[in-house]
Amino acid sequence: MYVANLAKIGTIAMVLASMAIVYALTYPSVRLRSVGNIKALGVGVYWDSGCSQSVSSIDWGMVEPGAVKNVTVYIRNEGNAPITLSLQTSNWNPSNAADYISLSWNYNGQTINANQVITVTLTLSISSNIQGITTFSFDIIISAVG
């Protein structure tokens, strides 16, 4: 029984070793990391450069067909590793509002270091062809990847 268990452990160890070799071959560009560092990502969006007023919602107010409206926010890397950002929208209400309204920003993909604050302008563009929509809402998703 004891010997059988030992044999099982040996098999598992061999499998693990094989996996490690395959793993290493599969990721030829792997790099060694500092042992003991824990990478935490976080991003905060604020109204002010001092990062004291958090942005939880943006009310674009009244916007005209064909209009472009800007809002400036300050984004801080609140983790301990460099990040890059991406922007998405979701939960459009009414759902066809997304056909006429778009959101973009002037963030150019640069890396943001820990605690660095960057100024970003969010731009809402309304199509001049918009019809039948009087109010709209959506979620802005800002993702930090590191």
């Binding site: 002010d48 004291s52 009310d59 916007v63 067909p65 400036t72 109010t135 993702s143």
Partner: protein, 407 residues
């Protein structure tokens, strides 16, 4: 037994080594953090875009370079919480008089009812509505951060119409003239709410006002119907309330650095709109100062309250107005500064003697010097005050006849 133990130890070491190798060779994980922000708005159909205004020397000009002299009225109400006091008909009426500007007072205490919590509803339900009406009638809006009574916290003087600092910011001061004076002193000295020490977590009252302005500006940064932002209505000085407090001249030493900081922060967000600034008190002669900024307008106020009266001597009136800032010639914005001047508030109570003549003569003087002006105030009241309409909406023609821009 010994051999088995040795084998187990070796296996343990081997597995540990494998795990360590695995840890070392694992590629950097792609972690992700997500921030979700809700967004909303309204589509406004059929409105005209107003031409952007800016300053050019002593003039306000539109984006085609045409001179625009702003003439209109304040429209009070939203700074005091009179939510249903404004209608589209009011804007139609002012447009029929030829007014091209409405100075719209707003109040900090409605915008930031709790520390750091901003009330979008205030702007969306009221300010936005007025901007839309104004645009419909080709009227520009000046947003005015109003401080009548300093804060609704202070009711000792019996006023129920008060605006300004949020109550929570000054709740520790006593409800008296001394309390007002002390809180104003602390504001200018850069203290935190209720006179607390400033820290990273506890910004000064001044910094909180800057943050509130930035919040407002972000909303309207692309709104060309806003002619400008009147940054601080009638900045108060403590000695007005308490003996021994900072005088107007001493307060100026704090006011102008604050304006510089505020304007610098605003320009990072909004390089477009005209910024309007007032001297201490809105009128005080000891505090005029040209700011080293662009696209700015100097503004002061000129009222005649009961029981004051007007002698009917327009020459004396003109001398008082034009030489009001006469401490030194260089301090005279009307004569010697190369930036536009806005009389952001002027008005006379109808019960003052020669009140209608005062209106006629003052408007004549404004025209002579090409000053921009806004009457205080468009309002409906049967009292012999400064309101431009009776309670039923009929215009007070004895005043309005001199303000109308059309024959």
């Amino acid at each position: 037994m010994q051999g088995a133990l040795e084998l187990r130890r070796k296996i343990f070491e081997f597995v540990t080594l494998l795990l360590f190798i695995d840890f070392l060779i694992t590629p950097t994980l792609s972690l992700q953090s997500i921030q979700k922000i809700s967004a909303s708005g309204m589509i406004e159909y059929g409105c005209q875009r107003m031409k952007w205004l800016r300053t050019n020397g002593k003039w306000i000009v539109d984006e085609d370079g045409n001179i625009v002299i702003l003439r209109g009225a304040n429209f009070m109400g939203y700074e005091f919480g009179y939510w249903s006091s404004h209608t589209e008909e009011d804007y139609a009426k002012m447009a029929s008089w030829g007014f091209n500007v409405v100075r719209l007072p707003i109040s900090w205490h409605f915008i930031e009812p709790e520390p750091g919590l901003y009330n979008e509803t205030y702007l969306r339900n009221y300010v936005d509505k007025d901007i839309a009406w104004a645009k419909k009638y080709s009227i520009y809006i000046i947003l005015d951060m109003h401080f009548w009574g300093w804060s609704p916290r202070f009711t000792y003087h019996g006023h129920t119409w008060t605006s300004g600092l949020p109550k929570w910011m000054v709740s520790a001061y006593e409800n008296s003239a001394e309390g007002v004076g002390r809180s104003i002193t602390d504001f200018w000295l850069g203290k935190g709410p209720n006179g607390t020490e400033v820290s990273a977590e506890n910004p000064s009252m001044q910094d909180r006002l800057i943050a509130v302005w930035l919040y407002v500006l972000q909303r309207y940064v692309n709104e060309s119907a806003i002619a400008g932002y009147d940054l601080f209505n009638e900045p108060p000085y403590p000695s007005f309330f308490v003996k021994g407090g900072l005088t107007a001249g001493q307060t100026a030493a704090y006011l102008y650095p604050f304006y510089n900081r505020l304007m610098n922060e605003i320009r990072k967000v909004d390089p477009y709109h005209i910024l309007i600034y007032q001297p201490v008190g809105g009128w005080h002669t000891q505090s005029t100062q040209v700011l080293n900024e662009t696209n700015i307008v100097f503004s002061y106020h000129y009222h005649l309250h009961y029981p004051g009266n007007y002698s009917g001597n327009i020459s004396k009136l003109e001398a008082d107005i034009v030489n009001r800032y006469r401490d030194s010639p260089a301090d005279n914005p009307i004569k010697n500064w190369n930036i536009p001047v806005l009389v952001g508030e002027f008005g006379v109570e109808l019960r003052c003697s020669n009140s209608t003549l005062w209106v006629k003569d003052v408007v004549t003087i404004w025209s002579k010097y090409n000053l921009n002006w806004a009457w205080w105030t468009y309002w409906k009241s049967d009292k012999p005050d400064m309101s431009l309409c009776y309670a039923n909406g009929t215009e007070k023609s004895e005043i309005v006849q001199y303000l109308k821009q059309f024959p």
